[in-house]
Symmetry: C2
Subunit: 458 residues, 2 copies
């Protein structure tokens, strides 16, 4: 039987789409310019059994499966390949358990990050990972890419919260990985191995996520304006050297500031070349003192202005520019999003390199950065329909990746390798690590049907 | 050539010992009653090249290698097997980098946990993982077992701090895993896969460890005495329900208290059936308020007495009983150390079961627990030379493991599977997870020479 016949036998009609609109819509994620091909069909799993049936059918017909959450990925990890089935988990939206005493929740792959956060908040609990796409991205996708976010600088990334997974293996078997207890070291850490593997080792059906208490934090914001990026970089280094771990330390550059100012008046000085937005979340006097120390670091590094807030609305207002930066830039044209991570102290140097690369290739590059982590998102903006500029943008993209490696960085801080970072991953990892990855891939997916061609260099 | 001839050609004489004293001393770790056999030789590696040479020789002669740090493991993970080479990393004691701005250190496998902590403290940095064996255990062993400790309840375990590893693979090649940057998601998380794999996938030669600032914490201790274990269990649950994350929450039971009181006078009421020792480490008023809330939880749960301290010496004095509990018990006879983890709310129930098991098998069982994590260490004590009691102790050990599984727990919270927990791991994991583990083991060590027979059920 063909894969489509097998799927039709196992699933309802409304769980399978083969119309051209669906095939196009589900053929790629949000990565601009990563290659993609329309799949044979899109399958909408609603239960664990649906996933098992789909993988079993794929196994029996040697059909590639591309798992997919919201399609908000930025590296092409969910892009269709020839002859593939795109397996959407977006209908699996159950939060099947919230355990207050043990502080964990079990969420199916299709639960949107924000929905989970709001749900557990009702139980006095907090799920920290906060990728920018949190209002649309799913937990399954967050797990697949090991998503980061703004609060990582203090609270870590997705993998730091995943203590268990239900997965379907390439042979169709179901494996329950990890635990629900606070600690546990029984056997290999297969949970962490699957997190960040971008659907190439197993299909994530649900995740057991450890949570923190919601209470006990008071957010304060500290914003600094700088005449040049180097001064802002000095401020970032000063915060680290002072032993402060802020709960956010974000940077936007002049291009972002101009784009934001061109759209909305948030009162950002038009002369500023860089803006740093920090948060601390310790309570009471401790929080006040920390906020004052961050402000002092900004001032000592040469900030031309520093603002502070401890009222929640004021905090939101002060850091609104961070949220608006990306949509402001998208108004200028298609955006090719970079994602590199360099040592914190090399942030100014990397920003200077990016400036040089923008000049060399005559492209506009804006910078949004999780500066406190050294995780930079240079955003290459190209006028719509300008193919020559698009070509130059690709060259700039590659040079940024090379530059980050020169400075001791890693080619992807939080978006994943997908397709876009395969050459960078190859350069970064060396042959032995690649051999290890390929050996593990072959061990768990001998047919190579799970999201082939993604995440690890062939 | 034989393995011994190959080793003799590659290493200095004083790096190889084959005398009976060495073979006996290096044939087992601290796990009472786990099976062991003397190795063919003990090799003392001093450099990465020495490890490569040893593994290469083992590969070419299909000789099992048992890597070993301080030998302070409690599951038999470092026990010799027939015809093996024990590869000691204890001479590799270099701390090759401390990066203050990026907050990481690179430590060779033989660095003692406490030595690392003291070294990075001089740079204003803190390495949290604090296994009870911290004064003797090595970083390599901590990584191999994914060691826990007292501060895990707030600060996590070893794997939460390991961001990179240099390892030697079974074929003798060197792999550099992970990163030095704050974030990074390039490829599979091989670092986390190796952490906790007990030397069965690769030999850890050095570890890149992320660190926290040393400053910014003020320790306060809260101690509660209870008439019965159930009341102490209620206090643990109350702390969790109140949304408090203490930096320590330890329990010792009446057997421990009696053993401590029989040895030293710390002023512990002889009527107490259980003692809870909590720490919080928030600064200033926030810390004071939290300490008061913990004390209130203890009182509401029925503590017969509560003591508090915020002076560092007083804090140490109050929790001294925790440190003395284990050596106090060792004075009573050989100790078989259990290590299970149950849901926090099931701690009283598990303690009651353990009491029943002790009665059934007529053995003394003391309980030391990382209560805040649900991680219990029932310590089975047998009079020296009493073989019948030893046999009963083994039965009690197995029943405790079964009991923890009944309550939704995991068979090892922080000591590792080694040899002692192989049956428990088999029961806990199910066939699919075991198949995944075996597939990965075969993929990375096709000859099966790296610490064969440990960590994963055959």
């Amino acid at each position: 039987m063909s894969i489509l016949a097998l799927l039709a036998a196992a699933l309802r009609d409304d769980q399978i789409r083969t119309d051209p609109e669906a095939l196009e819509a589900y053929s790629h994620d949000d990565a601009e310019w990563a290659p993609y091909r329309p799949p044979l069909a899109v399958v909408f799993a609603e239960t664990l059994d649906d996933v098992v049936a789909t993988v079993t059918a794929a196994r029996d017909t040697a059909t590639p499966i591309v798992p997919r959450g919201a399609g908000s990925g930025l590296s092409g990890g969910a892009n269709g390949v020839d002859g593939s089935i795109v397996l959407s988990l977006e209908r699996m939206t159950g939060i099947t358990e919230v355990n207050v005493d043990e502080r964990y929740a079990i969420a199916q792959a299709g639960v949107v990050n924000d929905v989970l956060r709001q749900h557990v908040a009702q139980h006095g609990l907090w799920y920290p990972p906060d990728p920018a796409s949190q209002s649309i991205a799913t937990i399954g996708g967050n797990v697949a890419t090991n998503a980061g976010g703004i609060c990582c600088v203090k609270y870590g990334v997705t993998t730091d919260y995943v203590i268990g997974l239900t997965v379907v293996l390439a042979d169709g078997r179901v494996a329950r990985l990890g635990r629900t207890t606070a600690k546990g070291v029984t056997g290999y850490d297969l949970t962490s191995l699957v997190v960040g593997s971008e659907g190439t080792l197993a299909i994530v059906v649900d995740a057991t996520l450890s949570l923190l208490p919601l209470a006990g934090r008071e957010e304060r914001a500290i914003v600094g304006y700088f005449d040049d990026l180097v001064a802002a970089g000095r401020a970032v280094a000063a915060v680290a050297s002072d032993g402060i771990v802020p709960s956010a330390l974000e940077l936007i550059d002049r291009t972002c500031i101009d784009a934001v100012n061109a759209w909305q008046d948030l009162g950002i000085p038009s002369t500023a070349s860089a803006m740093l937005m920090a948060k601390v979340d310790e309570t009471g006097e401790t929080g006040q003192r920390l906020a004052a120390r961050v402000a002092a670091c900004f001032e000592a590094a040469g900030a031309t202005g520093v603002e502070r807030a401890d009222d929640p609305d004021e905090v939101d207002r002060l850091i609104l520019a961070r949220r608006l930066a990306y949509p402001s830039l998208e108004r200028l044209g298609p955006v090719l999003t970079e994602d590199i991570c360099v040592p914190r102290t090399r942030v100014p140097e990397m920003l200077a390199r990016i400036e040089g690369i923008a000049a060399t290739w005559d492209v506009t590059i804006a910078n949004i950065a999780h500066a406190g982590d050294g995780n930079l998102h240079p955003l290459i903006i190209v006028p719509d329909g300008d193919d020559a500029a698009k070509e130059r943008a690709k060259r700039a993209f590659d040079e940024i990746v090379d530059g980050c490696r020169d400075l001791g960085g890693t080619v992807t801080g939080e978006h994943g390798v997908g397709l876009l970072k395969l050459p960078g991953a190859r350069a970064e990892q060396g042959e032995t690590v690649q051999d290890m990855q390929r050996a593990i891939k072959r061990a768990l997916d001998p047919q190579g049907i799970l999201n082939p061609g993604k995440a690890i260099p062939a």
